[in-house]
């Protein structure tokens, strides 16, 4: 039913929620845990910020570490009290009636406003029956709302574990098209694949032809698939690119298994040295001019 210790997780989130709300709000919320009617869950979910406020959660270090350990890749970073209250409510739904459980949550998605969507999508890795949320996650990736995309893309362990290659590639392409911070996407390098690399290279050529900028992180996803064409692209980056482009080309060549790419990098010893000295990595690229 769950792919992690959901029982323990629920206890900790409940404790965390309780410590962040007033006695009165806690009373209101904990009553909803006992109410099995969907309408009670619906209105409690919508009303949450009216009851809890929207301040960031207060949490002690031990609890934080324990919670994040229970679900590797999940983070409480940036969570507000209304969001944790919503998660807490969802964790109290009875998952044994699979059909009802999925339908209840799916209906929340269908009527959700933005902050509700953020709460729902960032809770994806914690739901029961994880394999059933695949389409929902892929649908979220189609959103054009920045916060929703970030809830799915940034430090969310669900997509890495469950999206198939096609859906994963859509997520990454969307991240590039919408200017997301690629460093925050969990599993970005692990799930690099030839299909994605080839689409990204086409995209890069299209941008070049239109005289538009290219996010240099694009190249990191090609490093395992260097062929003659890509080598030409790397040469172009080294030769005509900005410092940021050249750094990206160097990192790409460095990560690649291609002898030709590695030889090319040797012609730029100062970049190679910066990588070997751990001064240059994907998080330390020179900012865009």
């Amino acid at each position: 039913m769950f792919d992690y210790d959901a029982e323990r997780f629920r206890v900790l989130i409940t404790e965390l929620t309780r410590s962040n709300v007033t006695e009165e709000t806690w009373h209101w919320l904990s009553e909803k845990f006992l109410a099995p009617e969907t309408s009670a869950v619906n209105s409690a979910f919508a009303m949450m910020p009216r009851k809890t406020g929207k301040l960031p959660i207060a949490i002690n270090h031990e609890l934080w570490v324990e919670i994040e350990k229970l679900k590797p890749g999940f983070t409480l970073e940036g969570w507000t009290i209304d969001r944790i209250g919503r998660l807490c409510l969802l964790l109290h739904l009875d998952p044994t009636d699979k059909e009802k459980y999925v339908k209840t949550i799916e209906n929340l998605f269908l009527a959700a406003e933005v902050n509700e969507l953020v709460a729902l999508y960032s809770s994806l890795p914690l739901f029961a029956w994880p394999e059933l949320w695949l389409m929902r996650c892929a649908e979220g990736v189609r959103s054009n709302i920045g916060l929703v995309l970030e809830a799915i893309m940034y430090k969310n362990p669900y997509p890495i574990s469950y999206l198939d290659e096609k859906a994963w590639n859509q997520l990454i392409l969307k991240a590039f098209f919408t200017g997301k911070d690629l460093n925050k996407i969990s599993g970005i390098d692990e799930r690099a694949n030839a299909e994605l690399a080839s689409t990204l290279v086409d995209f890069a050529h299209e941008r070049w032809a239109a005289n538009r900028k290219i996010n240099p992180h694009l190249w990191r996803l090609t490093s395992k698939f260097i062929d003659d064409d890509l080598l030409t692209d790397l040469k172009r980056l080294f030769g005509e690119g900005s410092l940021r482009d050249r750094q990206a080309a160097a990192l790409t060549a460095y990560q690649s298994d291609s002898v030709l790419a590695k030889n090319l990098l040797k012609s730029y010893p100062e970049l190679l040295k910066a990588i070997e000295n751990k001064e240059l990595n994907w998080s330390s690229l020179t900012p865009e001019e």
Binding site: A46, R50, A111, E113, I145, T178, G179
Partner: protein, 327 residues
């Protein structure tokens, strides 16, 4: 909903005073009734430029009847979702009111389903009232769903935004107020919309908020509005554009402010009529925090909306409209 125009009652426009919004530069405006779903991004940009910092989009009739409940759900959901996001990209705080409009109350089968759906939306963040509801043809079905929605508003503690009919306006307005009182609603929770010279006195006398829609051809023109402001003062009076898919003007609020200023109405009075009264009325929902738009893009999460741009602050890029080059 504003306007069932009949296009024949349009008069040819006389050459008007050239628009000059410089005299209201620096003033902030709140348009408490505008149907942005029917408008373009150019409108958002122009509104932001003219000083509009926040707006309310009431749920209304889309110009043709909906045939199923899912269309209502998608519409309400776009008011709290997509449209809110679109607005934030231009630095304008977007609120909405949710309700079953009077025209579609006449489809009783669907109306029943909508009544079941409403609780799912009215408690959402940024929903500042039940609206726009009230009478259109003044049928029995309209009466029924108006009353049911008044009860819903009472239960949720939300203000009510009332659409008054085009035909038989005076009686329709009186009837809307009578029924609200009958249901034990405090008049200070009710905004009566689309007033004119004939209705305003009674609305104010009975303690309701009086909203005026500045809308070409079919509703108030803003010169008449200036006269009304002089006559009644700024207490409990607000103006809106009710801009929608008809010939309407999303800049009606700032333009009218400019005209008021030209005609000697004080800055304080203008501010009440074009900004603070609307906030006072709808903030009774507990869902408006003025800080969200006084210092736009500050602590509110909207600033993180990056949308499909790489720009900071979630703002949309500007295109140079004076250039023939599109890059």
């Amino acid at each position: 909903m504003c306007c069932s125009h009949s296009f024949d009652d349009r008069k040819p426009q006389v050459v008007a005073e050239a628009m000059n919004l410089d005299i209201i530069k620096g003033m902030k405006f709140f348009d408490p009734h505008v149907h942005m779903s029917s408008r373009t991004t150019d409108d958002y940009q122009a509104m932001a430029d003219a000083g509009i910092v926040a707006l309310i989009e009431p749920a209304f009739w889309l110009g043709q009847p909906r045939t199923g409940i899912d269309s209502f759900r998608d519409y309400y959901s776009s008011l709290v979702g997509w449209e809110r996001f679109r607005s934030s990209q231009f630095g304008i705080k977007h609120y909405c009111t949710i309700g079953l409009n009077s025209r579609e109350a006449n489809n009783e089968r669907l109306a029943e389903e909508v009544m079941e759906l409403l609780p799912l939306f009215i408690y959402k963040e940024g929903v500042v009232g039940i609206g726009e509801i009230g009478f259109d043809d003044q049928t029995a079905a309209e009466d029924k769903y108006y009353r049911m929605q008044l009860e819903l508003a009472k239960e949720a503690g939300l203000p009510i935004q009332i659409h008054t009919p085009h035909r038989d306006k005076k009686k329709g307005t009186q009837r809307s107020m009578d029924i609200a009182i009958e249901h034990g609603i405090d008049p200070k929770m009710v905004i009566i919309d689309h007033n004119n010279e004939e209705t305003v006195k009674e609305v104010l006398d009975r303690g309701f908020w009086a909203a005026f829609t500045i809308y070409p051809f079919t509703k108030m023109g803003n010169e008449r509005m200036v006269e009304l402001a002089k006559l009644y003062g700024p207490e409990r009076i607000m103006i809106n554009s009710a801009a929608d898919w008809g010939i309407s003007d999303p800049l009606a609020v700032p333009k009218t402010a400019a005209l008021m200023k030209l005609k000697g109405i004080s800055d304080e009075d203008i501010k009440m009529i074009t900004y603070s009264n609307a906030i006072t009325a709808f903030a009774q929902s507990g869902q408006i925090d003025e800080n969200d738009f006084i210092t736009p893009l500050s602590v509110d999460q909207t600033e993180k909306f990056a949308g499909n741009t790489v720009l900071r602050g979630g703002q949309q890029p500007r295109t140079d409209k004076s250039s023939i080059i599109i890059s």
